[in-house]
Symmetry: C2
Subunit: 309 residues, 2 copies
């Protein structure tokens, strides 16, 4: 195939005529100039995040391109969800071994399917030849001063997680691994209610330690309270599902800290979204992450996913 | 080496205590949360660009890591220069075959050396293991409505380029290939004076055609006027230096269109920066890019660099 770079970009990623979406109003200049020009709403701060996914490390070689396109955006949406930010604009850096039209068509379908659901406009990109690597940067906005941060919680705040944990890592609900559902709406609803938030991409045991550190507190988590899906409970022993829930990562749920008197409000928000919210422990004075199972200390296996360990 | 991802990021890329720079005022939250929080100056638009460089394609395998770090930022600075935008914040996606401390130290020195020169703050990043690939996204700002666009020129506008062309492609001035100097200050000075601008990353012959297309005009370029450095003229025949100036790319100079009556003003701005600005042709009614040499039609070799051709 002799598909030039510019033709390739034009064919799959320029969508000047797509249906107007809220975010399009902020796009003064999209793909096609040296840089995109964007207008952040007055009185809002800008939120920026970036994630890279590499074939063979973040998804198996030969994965469906549609799933890869979805996933590249979903992992970033999850980061903005954890900030309580409204996603708006994305840039895409796509390194491909070859310009394969069928692959690109499915990739674009996965990416734009999710982008359209969240009114995200693709405003820039770069394509290069090389081993399959996708880097997506996502920009969003949040009313000035209102962002949910990783720090900001106090001793006595409860720890809660959205959804269920361990499914993706188990590889059981493979649809969920391939098509993670970012908790954007919950992040928006949690703004001004939760005290702090982060997304669980690397596994609860490692992420809880980071969350505790960001708050200069100790996270105490009761492992028997972790939300495990029925699908997972039905097929593996409890000890196995716990290991996956604590260590496997890729769940893209949110971990939040909330003052006890605000829990009802947060629970109400989750209920309205049809999303489970489960209290799993609390923050106390001290440092580090501590786990207990039925009242006894519990040591999770490993400490979360680390690409360089 | 068993250097964990988080330790790696902290060691080389977190710089919470660096000397205060103008852009730091806009960083509400840098590396370390789920996303960065940034404040765009009131009344300014946001400019966003992204570029990927891959070992073996954009720089030779085994290149000095300091040059790679510089280059990753420079190519993006050049894009913002072409918009007349003030660079402010960068995110970095770094895919590495291994976490090599000596390599990272030199890479960070090259990146931050240039970042500090332009008050760019690194506000986010992702590191993954894989073949050496660097994607940098750069954000900047420009007073609302004042950005230099690729389109916007009129028939009769003159075409001019900064600096000299062909050195990088020639591989002669190898220092220039490794350490391109983005024309950020000139881009800022050209705002409100030039009618349109783009950066010359892929070679003048292909880029001039894109520039003409963006303006729905024809670019007429007199090849004998192209600025060729003395270093290049001294060592290769004129025909060879012309080929490199037209086709080799990687010069990262700016191509601008300017109304004849504003040329003096633009030339004055270049003079104040100690930068050459050379008129090479003009825009006329029509479409496409046309080249002449001493009054006769001239056909450049190739049509600019294309990663997928």
């Amino acid at each position: 195939m002799d598909l030039g770079e510019f033709e390739l970009i034009r064919r799959f990623f320029w969508r000047p005529s797509r249906s107007p979406a809220a975010s399009d109003e902020g796009v003064l200049l999209g793909i096609g100039d040296d840089a995109a020009l964007l207008r952040v709403p007055a009185g809002a701060d800008l939120a920026a995040t970036v994630d890279t996914i590499v074939e063979g490390r973040h998804f198996p070689a030969g994965s469906d391109a549609r799933s890869i396109g979805h996933r590249a955006l979903a992992v970033n949406l999850s980061d903005l969800a954890a900030m309580g930010a409204t996603p708006a604009w994305a840039t895409l850096a796509l390194t491909l071994p070859e310009a394969d039209a069928a692959w690109l068509e499915r990739f674009a379908a996965g990416l734009f399917g999710l982008a359209d659901a969240y009114d995200v406009a693709l405003v820039g990109g770069d394509t290069t030849r090389g081993p399959l690597t996708i880097t997506l940067q996502l920009l969003g906005h949040v009313p000035a001063g209102a962002a949910l941060r990783r720090g900001g919680a106090r001793a006595g705040d409860l720890l809660a997680v959205t959804g269920t944990l361990g499914d993706a890592g188990a590889g059981l609900a493979f649809g969920r691994f391939e098509y993670p559902a970012p908790r954007v709406e919950f992040g928006l609803a949690a703004r001004g209610v939760a005290a702090a938030a982060m997304d669980l991409s690397d596994g609860l045991s490692g992420d809880a330690a980071k969350f505790a550190e960001a708050n200069q507190l100790a996270a105490h988590i009761e492992v028997e309270r972790l939300p495990i899906s029925r699908a997972l409970r039905d097929v593996v022993p409890a000890s196995q599902s716990r290991d996956w829930a604590l260590g496997a990562g890729d769940d893209y749920e949110l971990l939040v800290a909330v003052a006890p008197q605000r829990l009802g409000e947060l629970q109400g928000a989750a209920d309205r979204l049809g999303l489970a919210l489960t209290t799993i422990g609390e923050l106390r004075p001290g440092r580090g992450a501590f786990f207990s199972l039925d009242g006894r200390n519990f040591a999770p296996k490993g400490s979360g996913f680390d690409h360089f360990r």
